[in-house]
Symmetry: C2
């Protein structure tokens, strides 16, 4: 196993948490002053670790291992949601930074190196996984030009304001980057409730998001007999409870669904609601199950349309296909956990991550450390220090295994067992 400096990692995490500190958490949305300052701090830490550190034209902080012919890319993100937690993606970036240092200490002259990246705006203040999309060439100039915050500010203007306007973009290099590894907090309660040390991520779940519209008729709630009402709210309530049953039947044991947004109009106590709106999303790792849930959803919309005199229709509000992690890399995490005397489970990630974007192009894998009470995206987010230390040892162990596997016996770089050569 690679020898890591656990105290240094805790010190780096705490230093990083000082940028945008907010109560017990961190407020560091993409391209805020705090985020930009944290990026420059990280670039200097990369330099100190012997990497060539740059901030590219989209805000990605990239540390390139000089002299390496082929590398394992480690990373995550250092931006946060508003009033978020201190670990989230920062944990994976600082774990990666320590692996860089440990690998250079252990194998200073190896042609196989460790590159490190902190992707910009993973949280989607502007666009989810903005930095990793750009890195993988999955973002057109037209798309980039169109990106604005909810308040209408253009991303290009903000990038120019941050002094990033004319910088080159760092891109994924299939010849160089042999694999991508990312550590992250779990953001859910499963590791804690199952009393397991780490999660080896099997894949990032796919998602379907739909908005359902209910159109009835607004009426006086005192003078309109129940039998003649076309009550959009009551139709929504019945739809939502019915759909939950249908999704439970169609889904698998790890399927999740949510009714996150509900609107009822006109919204007066004494007016029968004439219109209502429900946002439904559901997720699973299996493409088959996602399709089955989607079919159940559309069947429920069809069966509900017209009931109670209320028209029911729907539009898609986005979808993501499930993304499997690389089995060879997953095995390295499992082996490193066993070597460290730690327990692990294989589990899907219910949340999106930069690894989802990278996995479309190179072998990628993720490892979760436990989140206390499953909290994240909140100032209460935290992980026990022992879990951070143990997670670091396992992450470094897995990275070391993969780096050794890549290391040529003949002086040339080998190719990871699981590599899939797809054009970015």
């Amino acid at each position: 196993m690679l020898a890591v400096d656990e105290d240094q990692v805790l010190a780096d995490l705490r230093a990083l948490a000082g940028f945008g500190k907010f109560d017990t958490g961190v407020h560091r949305p993409a391209f805020s002053e705090a985020d930009l300052a944290a990026r420059e701090w990280l670039r200097q830490r990369m330099q100190a670790a012997g990497l060539d550190g740059v901030i590219d034209g989209i805000g990605n902080v990239y540390g390139r291992a000089p002299g390496a012919e082929r590398t394992v890319l480690l990373g995550s993100h250092t931006d946060t949601v508003p009033n978020g937690g201190w670990l989230d993606g920062a944990l994976g970036v600082i774990f990666g930074l320590e692996v860089v240092r440990a690998w250079r200490r252990a194998r200073p002259d190896n042609v196989i190196g460790v590159d490190l990246i902190s992707f910009a705006d993973e949280e989607g203040t502007w666009l989810s996984c903005l930095g990793s999309r750009s890195f993988c060439g999955a973002l057109t100039d037209a798309e980039l030009t169109g990106v604005r915050t909810r308040t209408g500010e253009r991303l290009l203007d903000r990038l120019a304001h941050a002094g990033l306007a004319n910088r080159a973009m760092v891109r994924l290099d299939l010849k160089r980057h042999g694999a991508y590894l990312e550590a992250h907090i779990e953001q859910g309660p499963r590791l804690v409730s199952d009393a397991v040390d780490i999660g080896v991520v099997t894949g990032i779940v796919g998602l379907r998001r739909h908005v359902v519209f209910f159109r009835g008729r607004a009426d006086h709630a005192g003078t309109t007999p129940m039998g003649t009402r076309r009550d959009a709210a009551s139709a929504l309530f019945v739809f939502a409870t019915t759909l939950a049953d249908r999704l439970r039947e169609a889904g698998g044991p790890d399927s999740v669904w949510n009714y996150g947004i509900v609107a009822v109009r006109p919204g007066a106590a004494n007016v029968v609601p004439g219109e209502a709106e429900l946002t439904v999303e559901f997720r699973d790792l299996s493409p088959t199950i996602i399709e089955r849930m989607d079919a159940a959803f559309h069947a429920t919309v069809g069966a509900s349309d017209g009931a109670f005199g209320v028209a029911v229709s729907t539009t898609s509000d986005g979808s993501l296909e499930p993304t499997a992690m690389d089995k060879g890399l997953m095995g390295a995490f499992a082996a490193a956990a066993a070597e460290a005397g730690a327990s692990h489970i294989c589990m899907p990630s219910g949340a999106g991550h930069d690894a989802m974007i990278l996995a479309r192009h190179i072998p990628a894998a993720m490892m979760f450390v436990p989140s206390i009470d499953g909290r994240s995206h909140d100032i209460s987010e935290d992980t026990h220090e022992d879990d951070i230390r143990q997670g670091l040892r396992i992450f470094a162990g897995a990275a070391g295994r993969i780096l050794e596997e890549l290391t040529p016996t003949n002086g040339r770089a080998a190719v990871s067992s699981g590599e899939r050569e797809r054009a970015p």
Copy 2:
């Protein structure tokens, strides 16, 4: 039957609809310029009809029959909801105006007269039934001082601006006002769907309004397993569908209930709702049924509290007791309808009216004319001209019967059969 001038009534209604005309409807909220101008117009029409017309300190327009010792009070209101309809309460005021004229034509020297009133702000732009509350002495100075619009403007300031600040208040006079009669549009679809000419109102329904709070826990909608969620929105949906069944069981054939306001927080597609809020109201004419529905409501709250890990609690958001109309006066409407060759049904009013306030002090009754498609409080509100003409004949017929009944054979005023002497 009293001989009425139907064309004059239609002309008066159309003239009144010119104040605050908005598309096919009327925008004449209480104490707007249009409302104040309409009130002065009405006062002058009262003068022309031989009444002593005044606008009092709360904005009530009152026409007093000179020389009469005892009267039947007719009225309704001429204010509207924002962008409302042209008839609503205006119909009842103009019907009353024509009965004043017809009675004076028919019995010019009778000691029994007809007084007319247009109450201020029945619609509650400032306070529901403001004018009739004031008229009945049911509004304290402290209450009056506290009345403001949603934007914070004080009623007393608006009254001063309208030049009403130092005027006397007109009050209900139990010695003078023997009965109160009000015509109004139905504001519901029942007369049209049952193909009935008029509705004789049995009473104004009582109402209970409750806000129900659901407190769970906000969580990431991708990473939190279904089994560990405390989803306030799903708890609300199940509560609402269950409560509808319980209210149906507890209620009577005319009971109504409504879920008019729904809020779900934080309101993001990918966050499990941690809080939700539902406003429930239900109405019935029977105090027994209202109490039974209220018991079913509280039992459902109790049974739901804690299910799905969601705490359920409730606070009252107001209540009104049912108000019965006077049976003797109802009989006059039924007899007048029969005499006119018209059909009628006895029905509760699901909406509040000034008659509800008056009925606490003197015998009161109401009559409904049909609303096309049951529409009201909207610019689409309308009533077929034939229904207005027929409604007028029946209203005048009933008023004539009651006036004749009051008329003394010995030269002194009699007392209405149904009078209840309560202090205002």
